[in-house]
Amino acid sequence: MKEAKSNAVNSTFQEIKDHALAGWQELWDGKKPVIMVGAATCGRAAGALEVEEALREEVKKRGLDCPVIEVGCMGHCYAEPLVIISKPGYPSICYGLVNPVIAEKLVRDFIIGDDPCLEFVLGATEKNDLIPSLLDFPRAEYETKVILENCGRIDPEQIDHYIANGGYTALAKALQVEPAVVIEEVKKSGLRGRGGAGFPTGSKWETCRNASGRPKYVICNGDEGDPGAFMDRDILESDPHSVLEGMIIAGYATGARYGYIYVRAEYPLAVHRVQVALNQAKKQHLIGRDILGSGYSFDIRLFQGSGAFVCGEESALIASLEGEPGMPRHRPPFPATSGLHGKPTVINNVKTLAAVRHILNKGWEWFSGIGTEKSKGTAVFALAGEVVNTGLVEVPMGTTLRQVIFDVGSGVPGGRRFKAVQVGGPSGGCLPESVLDLPIDFDSLKDAGAMMGSGGMVVLSEDGCMVEIARYLQEFTQRESCGKCTFCRLGTKQMLEILDRITRGEGEPEDLEMLSSLAEDVKAGSLCNLGKTAPNPVLTTLRYFRDEYEAHIKEKRCPALMCRELIAFYILPDR
């Protein structure tokens, strides 16, 4: 009986896979050139759609057999819009900062002519003798692409591209073994939740599996509310099926019948691509009743988050799925035993789910071989702010902050000095140069007063005022506090008022004492992690940049020249 089921899954999947591979090979037949345009939101903001249109028009005008396809984000966001041209006889070449004029030139000179237009090249995507490769960049030494493997290589709106590149193999594999085996594999791999808290994923699944109550649910948390973070957006826009596959596997392992993928409405392109992916997966019987003939049924619905930062907290997210204001609930009971509608519910971050298929495909030993003793696998960071190579970075856990900012990110532009890095968004902290050699994993940043968070990293140069950034983040958490707990609701307000005064030059010497004591109170008196971590930016800036606070208070001066009320303008008569 069991064997029959296994055979059914195998043959159904093989059919799907053969079809996908045939299409993929037809695209890459080695005879015609292929143009890929990076068209995630970051590329679009830089004008990728105009570039794409120019490419299509030129190709059509010249009557060329040359498909132009949209791909996701390669992570080199500083050079958007990106265009990759693969022409037989040449390595695949990635061009950066392309505009419609350059696009036309590329078609004329490279596709028709044989001039690879070296002046616009960013790098080749593979090693070769002709053109320096992106793999020869110093950053390649630190990067390990696991979760981002497909991003920028496949068309996210074509399920066949995903399947042809190994997609849904892990699902077909999982469906042929007992759910407990899947859980065991994930447990042994050491995978921990990528949303920031770092809870062991396998244990969460096991708790949910053993909990009574039907139906069970799997929720993918894509409510990436941290300002300064865009990893989940990029993954959902560039490789949505990897997240769906992780969800179905999680559903099978826990015995869930329904899944929700919760994406912020502020990410319209991610919402669209997830919807397209869902429709395609349903059509191929990878979602729905009797998946691949295994007898297991699982449905996924897309839910758009309505813009409340607190909904990134799992119990608040569940409340919003139930049609309530997103207010956190007391835990325990944890959602794994009592979540959506009081039923057992697994909630995992986008990146956690995207990692699952790799663990099943390559084995837990492989995954646990990456990273540090307690934090396995890779971490994805969104590098932004005052840094040369802004973009998405995936490095093994345990890489130091310095390596990420200076080696991968190439440091601060314009010869300015590095001052701090804001990690983990409003729940994290601002870390100075002195702690940059800390390895990044779930635990080590806590001692420095910050947390890894979901992966946002904003670099600040000497032009950034640390009091102002603390004030800004406090303003954010104050506005986004749901209002349930008194300390979070009123404490953050008091802290914000003090910070407001300081940045206006009206600070008093005793304010710093007051800030620290309020911060401790808010931490202690809040139910959820929004309140518990809200004071972190203030505490870390007080700890590492106290001199800036003092300059504001005692000398009524903003050393970074950012606080407008503290800048005086003079007219120099002799100029």
Partner: protein, 167 residues
């Protein structure tokens, strides 16, 4: 009941047909209705409450809790200034001031001629293009005050062109 109120109720009911009468659907319903009407007027909220069999105040509490929902009508063009960390540090707040000054309105307001509405957004995830302003749903990178004038000039030219064509 005025004509406008009756229209709102009719439109709302049309949008409601796609959804089941479960409270779970409240947020998708609000998103759908706002997608149709551009905002959530009182009459729409009361129709939704009736449809789901919940009190009007429950609908109102959800509408006012989430940043996505608006209680006043939108302008023809929507301006959303990103005030995420990266945008803020790169002067997003100065861009916001420029928008306010040029449009003569405050955040969450609509110009009297209903041409533009202005709002902030927490982060659209285009941090590498900071400071970002989302104009009619399209993220524009590096929007500094001079670019604000440029975008407005573009709209003005478009309007003039339209006016010419309609003549």
């Amino acid at each position: 009941m005025t004509v406008e109120e009756a229209d709102v109720r009719k439109e709302t009911n049309r949008a409601l047909k796609r959804f089941g009468r479960k409270k779970d659907n409240l947020i998708p319903i609000l998103q759908g209705v706002q997608g149709k009407l551009g905002y959530l007027p009182e009459e729409a909220m009361s129709e939704i409450a009736g449809y789901l069999g919940i009190s009007e105040i429950e609908v109102y509490s959800v509408v006012t809790f989430y940043n996505q929902f608006r209680l006043n009508p939108p302008g023809r063009h929507s301006i959303r200034v990103c005030l995420g960390t990266a945008c803020h540090m790169k002067g997003g707040y100065i861009t916001m001031d420029a928008w306010k000054r040029r449009l003569g309105i405050d955040v969450r307001e609509t110009t009297p001629d209903r041409e533009f509405d202005l709002d902030s957004v927490a982060c659209v995830g285009c941090c590498v293009m900071a400071p970002v302003t989302v104009v009619d749903g399209k993220p524009e990178g590096n929007v500094e005050p001079t670019r604000v004038d440029g975008i407005l000039l573009n709209f003005e030219l478009e309007r003039e062109k339209e006016a010419k064509e309609s003549k």
